[in-house]
Symmetry: D2
């Protein structure tokens, strides 16, 4: 089995090389594109309160799936440019979050760690 994050990284390297796009892929440009895609992903949810967000129309769902893919692709590309091991960083963040939000203090609460 191939690690999908490595596989995507390599596919994006080829994609950019074939198009001579490395010149545009500065960390800042990629971080900007990622934020724009994340907002596009949020857009279909903006008027959906509470439960309604769980039931998207098939068209919206397909659009959401593509925006999620865009977010992942820019994230993988940015990680490549900054030489960040995404999976390791995410694992470390879960550990850190576990310390910020100990089970006993955060159970059933959505309060920020600075307020618990």
């Amino acid at each position: 089995m191939t690690d999908p994050l490595i596989e995507l990284r390599d596919a994006l390297r080829r994609f950019a090389a074939e198009r001579d796009w490395d010149q545009f892929h500065s960390p800042r440009n990629l971080a900007t594109a990622l934020a724009v895609e994340a907002a596009e992903l949020l857009e279909p949810f903006q008027w959906l309160d509470g439960e309604k967000g769980a039931t998207l129309s098939p068209e919206t769902r397909a659009a959401v799936e593509q925006e999620m893919a865009d977010v992942l692709l820019y994230l993988v590309r940015l990680a490549d440019k900054l030489d960040v091991d995404l999976a390791a960083a995410a694992r470390a963040k879960i550990v850190k979050n576990g310390e910020k939000y100990p089970v006993g203090k955060s159970r059933g609460s959505s309060r920020k760690y600075t307020e618990i």
Copy 2:
């Protein structure tokens, strides 16, 4: 080897279950949190024109790495809640992007596909 996206998905399921946080993890809430994290990831780059974005201070770099981890974690969690196969969606998006940006027409250009 374990697929890191599956491993992170499972770790986040446990994290939420231990804290009784599934009640807060509606797709809308997760999409909102993801967009907020993506903007935090963009923040250190906001005044860095051109080349400067490539050379972050060690502190900023560490912060950027954590924001990237946050984006990935919310994305993996959202994908779990919406039953989206992130790796498959990203692979499909690369294929689609290849059709929107054929090598011949997009080489060396940052123009949007609607303008090439």
Copy 3:
């Protein structure tokens, strides 16, 4: 009475001139800063479903007020740099929105104009 948008524009011009900051205030940098502030404004609402969003703690309310001010300041500054008359653009947009969302078709519905 002074138009507050003009008054803020002039105050921001002085603020930037005193600090020699015009060099940093490219339209792109300002649009980036504005998006970052808009996400910071969204942050306190991210886990607040439905009604809860209406009752912020005094501290959160004060923070929200400051983020709203930041958004307005970057918007006024960007408008100045791009020579856009914000009030006129907003009035024109209300007229346009009225055409996209005729009262008869959009009453009581949050659907997008492309779907009504």
Copy 4:
């Protein structure tokens, strides 16, 4: 002369009342819509490094103007719902920024106030 922020507030009140849209205009929904519009405003700048951001095509400029209008309209509407005096908040923020960035320490530097 009428204060444009008051005039826009009143026009948006009428717009929402005619369409029975107050039910959708929770602070959270408005803050989300504002962040989405701010990202749409950022979108045309995402690949424009440095100077290029200053010279937009007429079509892009018109789109940017409309996104700026959208940001202002959501901001004015959110301020109305939260009972915030936008102009006063912005004036107060300029004073505060002046204290965070004293002329002597911040002249010609884009560093954050926590780093000067």
